[in-house]
Every structure is written in structure tokens, then in C-alpha cells.
Amino acid sequence: MTTSLLEKILDDPDALSVRFQPIFRLRAGVSQVDSVEGLIRGPRATNFERADILFDYVRRKHAEAAVDRSCIVAICKAVLELPPELRINVNVHASTLGHNPGFADFFRRQARNLSLSLDRFTLEIVEHAPTYNIPSLTCSIRALRDLGVRIALDDVGLGNSNYRMILDCHPDYFKLDAYFAKGVTHDADRRAVVRSVMCLAEEMKGSVVAEGVQSSEDLATLGQMGVELFQADLLCPAMQVHDLAAKGFVGLKMGSTPATRVAENVQAFERARQKLLEPAAKQPLCQ
């Protein structure tokens, strides 16, 4: 009997593979890997290897909760190969938290079984549909925070990662969607949106992570606006653990990992960093 794609994803431990993409902390004189995001790929050599197609399918099957758990199992196993001090970001659907009160306990057991410290983890909440069970969502988030897990809100500014979700999740990290970073240098409206998100984050004692920055110019602009955390292919694409280590992104003591070790990927970053090193007095965002 043949199995469906969903059954394969849930039952075959090798169906899902994990890549990690570094999140860099860049500011004048500082360039280091702050954390890595664990990213899932579907069955190899299929169209569903691409995460966007895989999770489109999963959402159509209404199987987010079950697949999120499989993803966490896969990522936790892969994390064992990373340096123990490195922080890890993991994605989870808001609906998984909103409809599964046992999720925090599942996550705790999973980490405990692999002797992973939960305070290394940041849970990135993603949502592509309205989350109706807000009390259950906030209850799950509270349980996760009690375990030491930090919370990030993904794709801030798009879709359902809206003001309500910001209030309900009270994220430690506001992950600014690539849409707002693209062309920010020459777009005053985009800069206004970025400023507003930064202002929100500052007021709520959170940090902004700019995702998907595509040019060193935009990187420099966002840096000058006060963004310090960046996750972008421009700096380093998602890759397997051994590739990250081979390229020098992980494996060194945190706080001293120079992203500049990877010449082919960071030339653009270096140029932007030089711009950041130039004196540029930051204006207070919230007055």
C-alpha cells in the first residue's frame, strides 16, 4: 500500500531534513552569529523539498500541529551537532499553540530527552490564518516562557502577524518581513514602517530582526536606523550543520565568531559594515 505525502512526513524520520541559517548581530565594530534558525526541508528530490510548498500542502491538510511536532523532533536532533552555547530558533504555527495545550510539555520532553537546555530556544510563531483560540495561544506562550523559551513573531507586518498578534504574543523578537527591507534605502514609506516596528519593539522591550535583506545598501540603511539583527541569504543562506561549521559560521565560541571568515558571502556585508562604522548618530525612535 502506498503512503500519502503526509504519512511519509509524519512516519518517516528521514523525510524531513534540517538546514540552519545564522542570524547575525551587526553593529559598528561587532559582527557575530547571534543564533541560528532551524529550517525544514521536505522529502529530497521532490517539489516538496521547498519549505514554502511543503507547508502550503501541510496547511491545506490542516496538519500543522502534527507536522510542527515532527519538525521539532527533526530540529532538536540536528541541534545536537551544533555548539552547545548556540541559540536556536524554531518555527511553530500559532494554530499549533492555540489548539494544542500540550505543546509546551511536548517541547519540554523533547528537549529533556536530548539533554538540550530549553533556554537556548526561541520559538518563532508563524501564522497564515486567523488564530481564533487566543486564550489557549497565550496560555501556551506563558508555559513556554516559564520553561525559558523566548518568543519571536515571524513575518511582522504581513498577514496575520498583525498588531493583535503582537499584543497577544508579546514577542521578544519582531521578525520584520523581507518585503519591508527590500528597497528601504530609497523608499521613505518603507523606512517609516520599519521605524514604527522598531518603536513598538523598543517600547515592548523586544528586538527587531530584519529578514531577507537583499543588498548591502539596504543592510547599511537598516543598520543606521538601529536594526542590529539580520537574517539574509546575502549574509549566509540556510545550510547543513557541517557546511556552517566548514565555512566558519559556527564552531567558535559565541561572541567571537567573525562572520567575515566567509569571504564569498560577506563581501557585501563588509561594505555595509564599513558604512556602519562611519559616524552616524542614531536618532531616538520613540520620543
Partner: protein, 142 residues
Amino acid sequence: MYDFEVTGIWQLACPLMSMAERILIIDDDDQLANAYKEYLSDCGHQVDCARELEEAQALLAHFSYSVVITDLRLTKLGFGGLDLIKHIRELALKTRIIVFTGYGWPELRAEATAQRVDAFLRKPTQLKELAATVGALVGVKA
């Protein structure tokens, strides 16, 4: 609408057509789908396969297909192929649709016809017939 069951035009088909099209085959019979995929790939097309409605919908959301070839019965209990055809038409895609099915029920055919299916083929479909139907729909001469 083409009806190759009637015309038999498929007999003129050449397996080596020159224009590559992206084609999506939906069938829960892996063996059959893979045979169609292999043949159409040999004809120069880029072919994807899906086994169920949701797989097909996810692929349609990310790729542009010239032709969708679908069985009507995608599960043991239902006729997901009809849902897929409706989905494609609701999206107003320019995709041409070929239905192949082992079921000759007139009411099913009528419903599929109402959804502007471009061609019907009866299972098991000969490979040359399938290739010819694809070629005719995308305007490729044999």
C-alpha cells in the same frame, strides 16, 4: 473540447515533440502516474506528479502548468478530481485540463464538462494517445 476517444487522432502522435510544457499529473496510482511521467518527460516536457488534491493545489499555487492531467477518483471514497478541476477554474488559470478515468458515468462526465474540461481519456490510456492529446491542447504539431 477535444474528445480523442471519438476522433482517434492520437494514432498520429509522435513521442518526440519539441516544445517543452510543464505538466501536472494527478493520480493515486503511482505506477501509472510514473509511466505517464516517464513517457511525457521523454517527449521533452517537464512533468510533476501529485497523488492527492492538496498536493496538487500546493503545486498549482507555486508553479504554472500548461496542462493538468487528472484522474477523477483520487481517493477510495471520493472524486477529488472534480474538486481539483473546480479549484483550477476558480483560480482562472489558463491551464488546459485532461481528465482520465476508469469511470464512464455520464453524470461525472457532465459535471466535468460543465467545468470546461478540455479533453477526456478513458483509463488505461495509451501513452501515445496521452502525448498526442497534450500536444494538441498546447498547439504542438506531431
